[in-house]
């Protein structure tokens, strides 16, 4: 394990991480990445740098979010960090297992996660339970031998088709209100009855999946947290997700700088009104960066709270804005399908994804209104009804 702990100064954290990476990164990286990455991720995981905020006893460094961000920056600088496909496992699965897992579960899952030997996905949303996640209807029924038999359909599961395990919420009690009859499982995706089918997105990519669960049987040891209290476990995952989707701390060149460069290339920069719109987007990006720095400093080693929704909204608004401006500055390129405009076209079509994935902006606004500002919850006409009596979509 690398010599970084909670008492290390931020400057030292960055310096030691950089030194360690430069010393250990295999020669041939990143050109030869495909051949080298499995070994590198093991080395990285063992060093603690892949999971710096995890407690030391679970192979992390126990450092605060701001230190972790510096480490991530160093990894990014060397293009040596874990890929986006590992985000659900490292950023969501790890913290949830640490918070709720038994000793056996931590022992079994955390190490392979930190060393990229197992990939995870999230199995929360369903066709009928999107924004209203707690109305999920995938059922898990406990058998006499204690094992669970699970059937249902999940959707919007990123990377499920290439995952080893899934973070699953399923309904285990139909006779209580919706939030109170859910149990959380760590599902082996390789079990019989699990079928993940990639779902094509509007931009032509296929990152999401539909996942069909057909009489999948899992042992009771796959359950994370108490029976029927899976909603509370899920909240841990969701908070980590919102916070994790909000970009990196640090003030420096980013999306709007790239946009401005392209505007200069295509000539739109000479239009003062257009230029001013880019500057306004730039201001929005900078204040988000400053806010992210603040969030990381204020967060320390605490679990993220509802404030993460603020950055989630700001970040998705920024992505949309940049994508739309990217089309605006080169209208001819998109409509004529010039080669230069291919990326802008892809980004334009993807503009809304972040405003929907990880909880729509509407849901984030509810969370901010209710949990940050203390506004009353919407009247749910069926709030006290057992789940089985609720109208469902």
């Amino acid at each position: 394990m690398i010599d970084i702990d909670p008492s290390t100064s931020l400057a030292e954290v960055a310096a030691r991480a950089r030194a360690w990476i430069e010393e250990n990164l295999p020669s041939g990286w990143p050109v030869d990445r495909a051949r080298l990455e499995a070994d590198w991720y093991v080395l990285l995981g063992d060093s603690g740098l892949a999971t710096p905020t995890w407690p030391r006893e679970h192979g992390g460094l126990g450092v605060a979010a701001d230190a972790a961000a510096l480490i991530a920056d160093e990894l990014a600088r060397h293009d040596a960090g874990r890929p986006m496909t590992d985000f659900p496992g490292v950023a969501l699965g790890g913290p949830t297992i640490i918070a709720w897992g038994t000793d056996e579960q931590k022992e079994r899952f955390l190490r392979p996660l930190a060393t990229a030997r197992e990939r995870w996905c999230q199995l929360f949303s369903e066709p009928g339970a999107g924004s209203d996640l707690a109305s999920l209807s995938t059922r898990a029924v406990q058998q006499e031998d204690g094992s669970w038999r699970i059937s249902g359909q999940k959707v919007w599961s990123s990377f499920a088709h290439i995952s080893d395990f899934g973070l699953l919420m399923a309904r285990t009690n139909q006779d209580v209100p919706k939030h109170r009859g859910i149990t959380y499982f760590l599902l082996d995706m390789r079990l019989p009855g699990v079928d993940a089918r990639p779902l094509k997105q509007l931009n032509g990519a296929a990152e999401f999946n539909e996942v069909f669960l057909d009489d999948v049987v899992v042992p009771d040891s796959a359950r994370l947290g108490p029976v029927d209290e899976g909603w509370r476990v899920g909240i841990t995952t969701l908070m980590a997700e919102r916070s994790g989707l909000s970009g990196r701390p640090g003030v420096g060149p980013a999306l709007t700088d790239a946009l401005a460069r392209r505007a200069r290339e295509v000539g739109a920069w000479d239009d003062a009104a257009q230029r001013d719109r880019l500057v306004e987007a730039h201001v929005a990006e900078k204040v988000l960066q400053m806010t992210t720095i603040r969030a990381f400093v204020e967060l320390g080693t605490r679990e993220p709270g509802a404030e993460g929704s603020i950055r989630k909204i700001a970040h998705s608004d920024l992505e949309e804005r940049v994508a739309r401006l990217g089309a605006e500055i080169d209208p001819f390129g998109l409509v004529a399908g010039t080669a230069d405009a291919a990326e802008a076209t892809h980004e334009f079509l993807s503009a809304k994804i972040l405003s929907i994935a990880g909880g729509t902006s509407e849901i984030q606004r509810n969370i901010i209104g209710e949990r940050v500002l203390g506004l009353p919850r919407e009247t749910d006409p069926h709030v006290d009804k057992p789940f089985r009596e609720r109208p469902r979509g």
Binding site: A129, Q201, E320, L334, V335, A336, E362, P381, P391
Partner: protein, 372 residues
């Protein structure tokens, strides 16, 4: 025809209802999807012929002297709104709105008689090849020498498919003029490009000494194209109004039926108010396109109407298309849902005539200069 905008005649109402019925049975979204998957729209020509034969679509706004029905921009706007509403694409824009308008406005009777009768029948389709590196139709670099054209045109809507091109080029005297070129002629190479909107193909045309027939008198290209741009701006604004309307309709329907939190999501003001804003935008987009269509072509009012409608409606449709995706949540970002087809069309409609800065500059020039 009534001179009062929005005072629709019986004929006009009938055209609208005929088009709506017709377009409802040949779903634009299915065709768009097929074209997107295939990379080309293989059934376009046959469908166009059928529409023109059955309801005289191609000839509706063409002069009676070439076999058309001789109606005007109000009818053009009706076609635009209904095409936008049903996401119908195909050769209409390139053939009728752009190229035929150029031929008619060129005042070249011979050319009109040579080309437009078969256009009115639906057997010939056209394209306007005037853009090179910008949709603003700036001064061409394509050269005319000894009856032949050489140069590159990009973003030509309606290709592959069109039979005849209206091309802008500059001659040895420095005059910018329009020419007719047969796409089957030697020296004409068409390369399809992957434009964002699958409902109307787009291509690059390379002309290498292609035989060309002058269209109208030399040096009049800019004058003619100003009419064409005004015509296209109003047609596209109508399409945008129609597309915005469909976004409202489709999203309201979803909001009435999708249940979350035990209620249709349209119950929630987060959805309801956003839909109301979509409606406010759309109601005004319809007004703008129709008002503009009712003005005399080439008049200051038509110019004002075209600029206002293109500015408002471009943003309205784009915003409504984005809101449609947002309010559909996860399903809105799938390939299978039609939302992205509207978004693609919205971007194409907004971008086909270049950035809005030209419109805004014209509007700024007049703003505050009249007395109140």
């Amino acid at each position: 025809m009534s001179t009062t905008p929005f005072d629709w005649s019986d004929d006009q109402q009938e055209i609208r209802s005929l088009l709506r019925k017709k377009f409802a049975t040949s779903s634009g979204t299915e065709i768009a999807r097929a074209a997107l998957e295939a990379g080309e729209d293989t059934g376009a020509a046959a469908r166009w012929l059928e529409l023109s034969a059955e309801i005289g679509l191609a000839g509706l706004t063409l002069p009676e002297s070439v076999g058309g029905m001789g109606t005007g921009r109000v009818e053009l706007a009706i076609v635009g709104e209904e095409m936008g509403r049903a996401l119908v694409g195909g050769p209409y824009l390139s053939t009728v709105v752009l190229a035929a308008e150029a031929i008619v406005r060129s005042g070249d009777e011979d050319a009109a008689q040579a080309v437009l009768p078969s256009v009115a029948e639906g057997t010939t389709t056209l394209a306007l090849a005037v853009a090179e590196t910008s949709a603003a139709w700036t001064e061409p670099t394509t050269r005319h020498t000894d009856g032949r054209l050489t140069g590159r045109k990009q973003g030509v809507v309606g290709l592959p498919g069109a039979d005849v091109l209206v091309v802008s080029a500059v001659d040895a005297d420095g005059h910018t003029s329009l020419y007719l070129v047969d796409t089957a002629a030697e020296g004409v190479a068409v390369t399809p490009t992957p434009g964002i909107d699958p409902t109307r193909p787009v291509a690059t045309v390379d002309l290498d000494g292609a035989v060309a027939r002058p269209l109208g008198r030399p040096g009049r290209a800019h004058e003619v194209l100003a009419f064409v741009r005004e015509n296209a701006a109003i047609f596209l604004a109508a399409e945008q109004a129609g597309g915005s309307r469909t976004c409202v309709t489709v999203t309201a329907e979803y909001a009435r039926t999708r249940i979350q939190f035990g209620q249709p999501i349209g119950t929630f003001q987060g959805v309801k108010h956003r839909l109301a804003d979509m409606e406010v935008r759309t109601a005004q987009a319809h007004s703008a396109a129709v008002w503009a269509a009712w003005q005399t072509p080439g008049s200051p009012e038509a110019a004002l109407g075209a600029d206002v409608a293109r500015s408002w409606n471009s943003r309205a449709y784009l915003q409504n298309a984005f809101d449609t995706i947002q309010l559909h949540g996860g399903i809105g970002i799938t390939w299978e849902h039609d939302a992205h087809l509207y978004l693609r069309r919205a971007q194409a409609d907004a971008a086909l005539l270049g950035p809005l800065s030209a419109e805004h500059q014209r509007l700024a020039a007049n703003l505050g200069t009249e007395s109140a």
